[in-house]
C-alpha cells in the first residue's frame, strides 16, 4: 500500500511547528510476534521490556555482591585427591582407588557429603535411559540397530568396592543413581577436614556403539586400543552458597560442577603406552626414553612443534606387545577435574609457549589416522587459543595445554581436551575438516577459561560456559586468518533459530532446553557479540568482560554475577538486554512503517507564493476540465461580465504581504533569522517493533546527492513505547532511501520491512534459482551465438 498526501499551510511567525507535510507511507504490517515471553503490563498492554531485573535476581549478599563481584564472605569448598588408576587393556576395564581430603570451608556444619558417580549413566536403568521420551519409530537404520543391540548388553556403571575413612574403617554410604551420599561418623564443622578412601572399577564403553564424552576406540587394522578417559572417578559434589549440594542427577546434557583442588594422579598402563593427562608429568625419567626427554627439552626453545614421539616411531609401536606395566605420575594444582588418554598408537608433538611470562607446554597426541592434519594444526591451534583468550580474560595459569585425537568428537577438561576430526583414509581432507578441527580445538582448549577456571555451574546453566566460550571462539577464529568460516557469532547466522517457535529462554536449566545448541551456544554467543559491537562498543565491553573473568577466576559465578559485573564495569544499565536476550524468546524484527517529510515554509511572500503557484500548476488537469477547454463560454461572448476578481490571483504578492514580511523580519532574533535561511527538511520516520526484542535502531540514510549518513540510535529509544516510535531526522538534503540495520548487526529476522522505499527481498530459494537459470540462459545464449555466427556469414 502506498499513500501520498501533501499539505501546505501559511507561515505563522514564531511557530516552527507549522510545517508543510508530505507523507510517504510504506505499509502497516501485521504485527505477529508474541509477547508472552515478557512480563506484560495489562493496563499499558505492552511488555515491560525495560522493567528492572532486580526481581529476577537473587538478593545481593556479602558472599555475592550487588556489583557482581565475590564479596568479603565468599567461600567455596576444596577437595584434594590422590588417585591410583589402572587401565586393563586386555578387558577394557578401569580399576581405581582414591583418597579424598575434603575441606569444609563453608560456614556450615555438614552431616554427610555427596559424591558423583557419573559412569552410572551407563547403567541400563539410569534416569537418562528411563526419562528419555519415545522417539519416532518410522525409521531405524541398521547402524542404529547395531548400536542398540550392543548397548543392551553393556553395563558401564561404577562398581564401588570400598568406602572407608582414613583408618580404613568402612563408611556408611547410599547410592542414589549417579550420586552417592557418605554419612560422616561425626558432623564436619566449618573449617574442618575429612579424609576418606573410595575404590571402584567399571567397564569402559566402546565409543563406536556407546557414544559419550569418554570411551575407547578399537583399530581393526593394527588391533590396538586408544582410550580417552573422563568423568571416571567418584568426584565431590559441589556444595555452594546458592544451592547447597548441587546434586541434580547426571542425565546427559547438564555437565559438571566440581570443587577446585589439588590432584596427584598415578596412572598404570601397559609399558608401551604413551599417557597424556591433566597436569605436569612428575616421573619423566621412569616413563620416557632419554631421546624423548631430550626432545621435550628442545621443545622448550622451538619455534614450531617438535615431535616427542615421531609418526614413524608411533607406527613402529603399533606392532609391539607390552612386556609389563608402567606408572605415569601427574600433578595438577587448582583444577576441578582430571582426565587422561592412553594408547601405544600416539604420535606426540610439543612446543613451549609463554603467555605473558607463564610458560605453557602446548602438546598434541594423535594416532597416525589423524595425519597429516594433526601435526600441522593441533598445537598451533592450542597456542593461538591461549594467546587470544588470555588477552580477553586472564593469563592461562596452567603448565600444560593438551589436545588429543580419539573417538570423542570434542570434550573439555582442565589442561586436556579430546577432539575428533580426522582426514580421509587417503590422507586428504576437505576444507571443512580442516576448519572443523581448528574450531573444535579452539573451542575445547578455550573451555579451560570457562568453565574450568571461571567455575560456573554446568549442571544448571549450559550457556554460562558454552555461550561465553563460543563467543570467544568466534573472536579467536577471526584472528586465525582473514575470512575464517566461523559458523557462529555473526548475527545473521542465528536468524533462522531466532524466528523459530519452539524456544525456551536461555535462562532455562540445561536439561529442559529446546534446540539445545542454538539456545545455549549460538544465541548467547551472538548476544554477546551484539552487545560488544552494537551496544557497548568494543572498549567498554572488553573491559567489563575481562573484569568478570578476573573477578571469578577460580571461583564459582552465577548468572546474576555475570549480568551485574557487566553492568557494574561498563557503567551501562543492561537490564533490558538481559531481559530480552536471556529471559525471553523474542527476536529482532524492526520495521520502517512510514517516512514523512515536513519542510519549512518561507516567510518571504515572494518565495512562498511562487512555490504555491508552481504547486497549483503541477496539479493534474481533470478529464472534464480538459474536455471543457474548447467549450465557448458566456464570458467570452460578453466581456463586460469580467471584473476585478477575474484578473486577481490570490497567489500574487501584494503590498500588504511585503509590509507584513518586513515587520515579521524586524521582530526576529538573529538566530531565528539564520534558522530560516537554512531551510531544512524535517523527516519523521515511524518504526515499529515486530519481533518484541528492543534493539538499537541503526539507519543508513542515502541522500539524493549520492551521499550517505549513518544514524545509530540506542535501544533506549523504545523505553516508553516498545512497539512504535518515531524519529526526527533534520537535514538540508533530500532523503532518497533509508535502510534499517545496514550492516546486519542485530539479527533482524525479516529484512523485507527494513527499507524505504519498500524493497522486495527475495527468498534464498529464488536467489539461487535466478542464479542457476542465468547460468542456463548463458549456456543457451552460447548455443544461440554459435548458431547466429553461422547465419551471419550468409546475411552479410
Amino acid at each position: 500500500m502506498m499513500k501520498l498526501s501533501a499539505q501546505r499551510t501559511a507561515w505563522c511567525p514564531g511557530i516552527l511547528a507549522r510545517l508543510c507535510f508530505v507523507v510517504c507511507c510504506v505499509a502497516s504490517f501485521m504485527l505477529t510476534a508474541d509477547i508472552e515471553a515478557q512480563v506484560v503490563n495489562r493496563k499499558f498492554r505492552q511488555a515491560d521490556s525495560f522493567r528492572q531485573l532486580d526481581e529476577s535476581l537473587p538478593t545481593p549478599t556479602e558472599t555475592r555482591q550487588a556489583s557482581g563481584a565475590p564479596g568479603p564472605e565468599y567461600w567455596q569448598q576444596r577437595a584434594d585427591y590422590v588417585i591410583d588408576v589402572e587401565i586393563d587393556d586386555e578387558n577394557q576395564r578401569l580399576i581405581g582407588r582414591e583418597q579424598i581430603t575434603y575441606r569444609n570451608q563453608s560456614p556450615h556444619k555438614l552431616k554427610y557429603i555427596w559424591l558423583q558417580l557419573d559412569a552410572n549413566i551407563f547403567a541400563p536403568d539410569s534416569d537418562a535411559v528411563l526419562t528419555a521420551t519415545a522417539p519416532s519409530l518410522e525409521r531405524v537404520s541398521t547402524e542404529e540397530l547395531k548400536r542398540l543391540r550392543a548397548r543392551l548388553v553393556f553395563d558401564g556403571s561404577m562398581k564401588i568396592t570400598e568406602v572407608s575413612d582414613s583408618r580404613k574403617q568402612p563408611l556408611d554410604h547410599t547410592i542414589v543413581k549417579t550420586m552417592m551420599r557418605i554419612d560422616l561418623p561425626a558432623p564436619l564443622a566449618s573449617g574442618e577436614t575429612f579424609s576418606f578412601n573410595v575404590a571402584w572399577n567399571y567397564a569402559i564403553n566402546n565409543s563406536k556403539v556407546v557414544r559419550a564424552r569418554t570411551g575407547y576406540e578399537y583399530f581393526e587394522d593394527d588391533k590396538n586400543y586408544l582410550y580417552e578417559i573422563a568423568h571416571w572417578f567418584p568426584r565431590l559434589v559441589a556444595y555452594t552458597d546458592y544451592t547447597g549440594w548441587q546434586h541434580k542427577q547426571f542425565i546427559g546434557r547438564g555437565e559438571f560442577t566440581l570443587e577446585l583442588g589439588e590432584y596427584l594422579l598415578r596412572i598404570t598402563v601397559p609399558d608401551d603406552h604413551i599417557v597424556s593427562a591433566s597436569g605436569e608429568l612428575m616421573n619423566a625419567e621412569q616413563v620416557l626414553t632419554e631421546t624423548q626427554r631430550k626432545r621435550l627439552e628442545d621443545a622448550r626453545t622451538a619455534k614450531t612443534p617438535v615431535f616427542i614421539v615421531t609418526p614413524e616411531e608411533a607406527e613402529e609401536n603399533e606392532s609391539h606387545k607390552p612386556t609389563g606395566k608402567k606408572t605415569w605420575i601427574f600433578k595438577a594444582d587448582n583444577v576441578r577435574d582430571v582426565a587422561f588418554a592412553t594408547s601405544r598408537k600416539f604420535i606426540w608433538d610439543a612446543q613451549l609457549h609463554t603467555v605473558d611470562g607463564n610458560e605453557v607446554m602446548a602438546m598434541s597426541f594423535y594416532p597416525k589416522e589423524g595425519e597429516p592434519l594433526w601435526s600441522r594444526y593441533s598445537t598451533h591451534s592450542i597456542i593461538h587459543t591461549l594467546d587470544v583468550y588470555s588477552r580477553y580474560t586472564f593469563n592461562y595459569p596452567y603448565p600444560v595445554a593438551i589436545s588429543v585425537n580419539g573417538p570423542v568428537g570434542g570434550m573439555e577438561y582442565p589442561m586436556i581436551c579430546f577432539n575428533g576430526p580426522r582426514p580421509e583414509e587417503d590422507k586428504t581432507y576437505s576444507k571443512r575438516t580442516k576448519y572443523g578441527l581448528i574450531s573444535v580445538i579452539i573451542h575445547e582448549v578455550g573451555h579451560n577459561y570457562f568453565p574450568m577456571i571461571v567455575n560456573s555451574d554446568e549442571r544448571q546453566w549450559t550457556w554460562m560456559d558454552e555461550g561465553l566460550n563460543t563467543f570467544l571462539q568466534y573472536l579467536t577464529e577471526q584472528e586465525w586468518e582473514e575470512k575464517y568460516p566461523s559458523r557462529r557469532g555473526e548475527p545473521q547466522n542465528i536468524v533462522q533459530y531466532m524466528r523459530s517457535q519452539n524456544q525456551v529462554p536461555v535462562m532455562t536449566n540445561s536439561e529442559s532446553l529446546l534446540q539445545f545448541g542454538p539456545n545455549a551456544y549460538a544465541k548467547p554467543a551472538t548476544a554477546l557479540n551484539i552487545l560488544r559491537e552494537s551496544i557497548l562498543g568494543r572498549e567498554l565491553f572488553d573491559f567489563a568482560f575481562k573484569e568478570y573473568a578476573q573477578r571469578w577466576k577460580f571461583k564459582r559465578p552465577t548468572p546474576a554475577d555475570f549480568f551485574r559485573s557487566m553492568e557494574d564495569a561498563s557503567g551501562v544499565d543492561l537490564d533490558w538486554f538481559w531481559r530480552g536476550w536471556f529471559y525471553s524468546t523474542d527476536h529482532t524484527d524492526l520495521s520502517i512503517d512510514s517516512l514523512k517529510l515536513y519542510t519549512l515554509e518561507s516567510p518571504d511572500p515572494k518565495v512562498e507564493k511562487a512555490a504555491k503557484k508552481k504547486e497549483r500548476e503541477d496539479e493534474p488537469e481533470t478529464l472534464s476540465k480538459r474536455r471543457n477547454k474548447s467549450l465557448p463560454t458566456r464570458a467570452q461572448s460578453f466581456p463586460e461580465l469580467k471584473d476585478f476578481y477575474n484578473d486577481f490571483d490570490e497567489l500574487d504578492v501584494t503590498e500588504l504581504d511585503q509590509k507584513n514580511y518586513k515587520k515579521f523580519l524586524e521582530k526576529l532574533e538573529d538566530d531565528e533569522r539564520e534558522l530560516l535561511d537554512e531551510m531544512r527538511n524535517f523527516y519523521v520516520v515511524d518504526i515499529s517493533n515486530q519481533g518484541g526484542l528492543v534493539m538499537p535502531v541503526i539507519f543508513d540514510i542515502e541522500f539524493e546527492d549520492g551521499s550517505h549518513e549513518e544514524l545509530r540510535i540506542p535501544a533506549e529509544i523504545w523505553r516508553r513505547n516498545n512497539e512504535k516510535v518515531s524519529k526526527l531526522i533534520v537535514t538540508e538534503k533530500t532523503i532518497k532511501s533509508l535502510t534499517l540495520d545496514p550492516h546486519l548487526e542485530t539479527a533482524d529476522v525479516d529484512l523485507g520491512n527494513n527499507h524505504w522505499p519498500p524493497k522486495v527481498i527475495k527468498s534464498r530459494f529464488k536467489l539461487f534459482k535466478e542464479k542457476e537459470s542465468k547460468n542456463d540462459m548463458q549456456k543457451a545464449r552460447g548455443e544461440e551465438d554459435a548458431a547466429d555466427d553461422e547465419e551471419e556469414e550468409d546475411s552479410q
Partner: protein, 210 residues
Amino acid sequence: MRIFIFPTWCVALLLVSSAIQTSVAHPFHASFAEVEWNAKTGKLEVALQFDPDDLEKAVRLHCGERINIDDERSAPLIAAYVREHFSIGPRRISNDAKVKHSVGNPAAHDAAASDSKKRDVAGSSNRRSDRFEMIGKEIDAKFAWVYFEIVAKDGPEGLEIENALLANASHPSNTVLVRSGKRTTTMTFTRQTTRRTVRFPDAESSTFGS
C-alpha cells in the same frame, strides 16, 4: 529386507541410545528449512540449510558410501537422501500398534531402496517422492544449502510435513518455516516427532501488542 519390530521392544532400544549419545564440539545437529508457496506455479519452494558435516554424515550413512558432498557427483545422492527424509503432502493415517517398518538405510533393503511407496502402505497412496524436484545445492565450509520444489496446488495449509532428517545424529533438531503469502508458521521436528501438519496461527491472537 523388511524387519518386523514390536513397537515396545523398539522403544526400549531407542531410549537407551538417545539417552547417552552426546558429542560436545558440534553439540547440535540442526537443519533449517524455509518453505515458501509460489501460488503461480503451485509449488512449495524449499531452501534447506545444514551443517555440511551433518549432511555429509547423513548422506554417507544413507547411501553406504564414503562420499564427499563437495564433489559434484554426490548431488543425486544428496537429492535421494533429502527426498527420502523430507516430504510434504496430504496427511497419512497414523500407524497403529503393530506396523511393518522398513529399515532406513536403503542399502539394507534391496529393490525397495528407491521405493518409498512401500512405506506409505498405511496411508495415502500418493507417492510423495513424485512431488519432489531437486533444483540444486550450494556447499561451503560453513553451510550446506539444498534447494528443491514440492508440488502443492492448493498451498501448504493442512498438509503434513514429514521431516526425519539427521535422525542418526544425537538430538537432531529440524526447524521448518512455512510461508504462504503473508502468513508464516514455524515447526520443529526431532527424533520424537517427525510429522506435523501445517497450520497457520490465527493472526489476531498472536499479535504483538495491540
